[in-house]
C-alpha cells in the first residue's frame, strides 16, 4: 500500500536525487560514522572515556567495580549532577556561571539555619532556598541584559558574594549538623528505590523509544514524508534496555538505586524534554547559536537569557540541598573546593559546548558519572586531594580540547 504511494509521488523529502538516503541499520551506522568524522561527536567521547576510566581503576583497585561502591558513586553524583544540569542551560547560551559552587554552599547553609536552627518546616526551608536561587539567577540575567556585563564577571563577583553570605549566616560556629533520622538525611544517605521500581524505570526508555518510533512513523507516512525503518529503533531500544537492566541488576547486587539519583535523572529527563520538544528549548539553542538572528525572528532574547540563569541558579540551589543531605551537614566548606569546576567539567565532558548552541541535558548525567568515577577511583587509591585536583583539572582540559577540535572539524565540514 505504502509502496504504491511511493512510486506515484515521491515522498516530500525524497525528491532530490542527489542525496544518498541511508536506509535501515547499515544506513544508520553510516550516518553515525559520517557524523563523528565531521566532528559531531555527540556522546562518543564520554562513553569511550568512561570505559577507559573503569578499566584503569578496576585494574588498580578491584573495589572500584564493586556494586556498593557504584551505589555510593551514584549517591555522590546526584548533587554535582544537578548543578551540572543547570550549567548546561547557561553553556547552551554561550554564557557561564562560576558561582554555582557558592550558590549550592549558601543553599545548604540556609537549610541548616532555617530548618535546624530556627525550626522552620523543611519544605518551607527548601522553598526559601529555591526562591533565593531564582532571585540570584534573575540578578545575573538582569546584569547581563541591562548592562551587558559578561556573565563570567558577574558570576565571579557572585562567587565571592555568595560565599560571604554563606559564611555570614553560618556564623562563628561554622557548621550545622543535620539530624540523622530526618527524612532529608535519609534521602541523602539511605533511601533506595524498590527493586521492582528500578527495573520498571530501566525498561521504560526502551518502551518509550519503540512507541515513539511507531507513532512518528505513522504520522510521517500519513503526511507523505519518509519514515525511518523500525529496525534502527528496535536496536536502539534493545541496547538501551539491556544496558539499563544490567546496570540495575548489578546495582541491586549491592544496595540498589538511590532515590536521590533517581530524582536527579527525573530532572534530567524533564530538562531534556524542555530543551528538545518545546519552543523554549528551541529558542535556547537559537540564542546560543546566533543571538541577533534569534532576536530578528521575534524571540525575546532577554527573557531566554533570564530563564537560563534562573534555571541554573535554582538547580545549583537544589544541588546544595542534595549535598547537605548527603553530608548531613551545612558547613563552611560546602560548595567550595572543586564543586564549581566539577560541575562545569561534567557538562563539558558530557558534550555540551563551551561556545554555545550545542549540547543536551544528558551531558550532565554522563559527564557527572565520569567526573565522579575519577574522583571515586582516586579516593580508592588513597591519593591526596592535591593530586585529585590536578588530575580532575587535566581531565577538564582534555574535554575542552576535544570540544575545540570537534568545533574546528565541524567548521571545516560545514556543520559549525
Amino acid at each position: 500500500m505504502t509502496n504504491e504511494a511511493n512510486q506515484m509521488t515521491p515522498r516530500l523529502d525524497r525528491a532530490d536525487a542527489r542525496v544518498r538516503h541511508d536506509a535501515g541499520l547499515a544506513g544508520a551506522f553510516k550516518k553515525f560514522t559520517d557524523k563523528v568524522r565531521s566532528g559531531d561527536l555527540g556522546m562518543l567521547p564520554v562513553i569511550v572515556g568512561l570505559l577507559l576510566i573503569s578499566a584503569v581503576f578496576t585494574t588498580l583497585n578491584p573495589v572500584f567495580l564493586a556494586p556498593n561502591n557504584l551505589v555510593n558513586l551514584l549517591f555522590d553524583a546526584a548533587a554535582v549532577g544537578l548543578i551540572a544540569l543547570g550549567v548546561v542551560c547557561v553553556l547552551l547560551l554561550g554564557e557561564i556561571d562560576l558561582s554555582i559552587g557558592s550558590m549550592s554552599g549558601l543553599s545548604s547553609a540556609i537549610i541548616g539555619v532555617l530548618w535546624v536552627k530556627s525550626g522552620v518546616p523543611l519544605a518551607v526551608a527548601i522553598l526559601a532556598v529555591l526562591a533565593n536561587g531564582a532571585l540570584i539567577g534573575f540578578l545575573y540575567g538582569f546584569l547581563r541584559n541591562k548592562f551587558e556585563m559578561p556573565s563570567f564577571v558577574a558570576t565571579l563577583a557572585g562567587l565571592l558574594a555568595l560565599l560571604g553570605m554563606q559564611l555570614y549566616i553560618l556564623g562563628p560556629t561554622g557548621s550545622i549538623n543535620l539530624p540523622f533520622t530526618s527524612p532529608l538525611v535519609r534521602f541523602g544517605q539511605i533511601l533506595i528505590m524498590p527493586a521492582y521500581l528500578s527495573y520498571l524505570v530501566a525498561i521504560l526508555p526502551g518502551v518509550l523509544i519503540m512507541i515513539g518510533a511507531v507513532k512518528t512513523n505513522a504520522k510521517r507516512t500519513a503526511a507523505n514524508l519518509s519514515a525511518e525503518s523500525l529496525s534502527v529503533a528496535i536496536v536502539k531500544a534493545a541496547l538501551l534496555t539491556i544496558g539499563l537492566v544490567f546496570a540495575v541488576y548489578y546495582l541491586e547486587l549491592g544496595r540498589g538505586v538511590p532515590w536521590m539519583f533517581g530524582g536527579f535523572v527525573l530532572l534530567v529527563v524533564i530538562l531534556n524534554y524542555g530543551l528538545t520538544r518545546t519552543k523554549w528549548g528551541r529558542s535556547m539553542f537559537a540564542v546560543g547559536g546566533n543571538a541577533e538572528a534569534a532576536r530578528r525572528s521575534g524571540i525575546n532574547v532577554f527573557r531566554i537569557r533570564m530563564s537560563a540563569f534562573v534555571v541554573c541558579s535554582v538547580l545549583a540551589s537544589l544541588g546544595g540541598v542534595f549535598a547537605a543531605a548527603r553530608l548531613a551537614s551545612a558547613s563552611q566548606q560546602a560548595g567550595t573546593g572543586d564543586v564549581n569546576l566539577n560541575a562545569i567539567a561534567a557538562a563539558v565532558i558530557g558534550g555540551t559546548s563551551l561556545f554555545g548552541g550545542r549540547g543536551s541535558a544528558w551531558s550532565a548525567l554522563l559527564g557527572v558519572i565520569v567526573i565522579m568515577a575519577i574522583s571515586n577511583g582516586l579516593t580508592l587509591l588513597n591519593l591526596s586531594s592535591s593530586l585529585r585536583y590536578m588530575i580532575t583539572g587535566a581531565v577538564l582540559a582534555i574535554a575542552v580540547i576535544v570540544d575545540s577540535l570537534a568545533r574546528r572539524s565541524r567548521a571545516s565540514h560545514g556543520r559549525a
Binding site: 514524508l225 519552543k279 547559536g289 538572528a293 530578528r296
Partner: protein, 268 residues
Amino acid sequence: MTTQSNTPSKGELILRLHGIGKQFGAVTALEDIELDVHAGEVVALVGDNGAGKSTLVKVLAGVHQPTSGSIEYLGKPVSLDTPKKALEMGIATVFQDLALCENLDVVANLFLGHEVNPWRMDEVQMEVRAWTLLQELAARIPSVREPIASLSGGQRQTVAIARSLLLDPHIIMLDEPTAALGVAQSAEVLNLIERVRDRGHGVILISHNMEDVRAVADRIVVLRLGKNNGVFTSDTSHQDLVAAITGASENSVSRRAARKQQDAEAVQ
C-alpha cells in the same frame, strides 16, 4: 499565531514613512526619508553601497529604532520597537545577512519564534510545511534536517526567503535577495515577488540588478547618501536611474557608456 488585522485591499496604502532619520553616533545613515507602500505593489529601493537601504529595512523590521520621523501602518501611527512587533503586524524581512542560526536545521530556522505547538512541538507538521514552502520556491534543498551550516549561500538565501513567507505577511522586504542565487533561482524569486504582489501584499525589493528591478518594480525609489533622491517608474532609462543613484549625469558609468558608443561609431 499572529495578531494581524484584516488584510488590506489592493491599492490601499499599507505603510507610510515620514521624515525617518537614523543616526549611528556621528554617522547619519538616514535623513528625512519618505516612503509609501501600497497593497499589491512592488517598490524597489535602489542606491549605491552605503546609501542606507539596509538601515531603512532594519528600521522597518524593528531591528533599529529611528532617531526621528514617524511610521504609519494601515492608517495608524506605530512604533516598531522590537522585531517581534514588526513580525506580528505583518512585516516580514529577508535580511541582507540572512540572520539564520547555523546550528539549527532548516525546519527549525523556518519556524524559529513561531513553532507549531510551543509546549509540544509538532515536528512532522513543521517539516511538511517546510517542504511545501521550499517547493513553492523551486528550492533545491537536499534535506531539511541538516544544519544550516551545511548549506550553500544560495540555499541559505532560499531558506531566508521561505521563512519570510511563512507568516503570510502584509509586507515583505527583501534585502538583495538574489545576490547569491543562480539564474533559475533568481528568476524564481522574481516570479515569487510577482505572485506575492498578485496576492495583494506589498513588496519592498532591494537590488543592484537594474534589469531585475525594472522587470518587477511598480515604482523605483532611489536613496543616495541616506536621503531620498527621486521616485521613478519601471520604464525609466538605465542611464537616468544610474544618474539618480550616483547623483550626477556625468559619472563613471555614463562616461563608460558614452565611450563605448563612440568606439562603436568609430568602427562604423
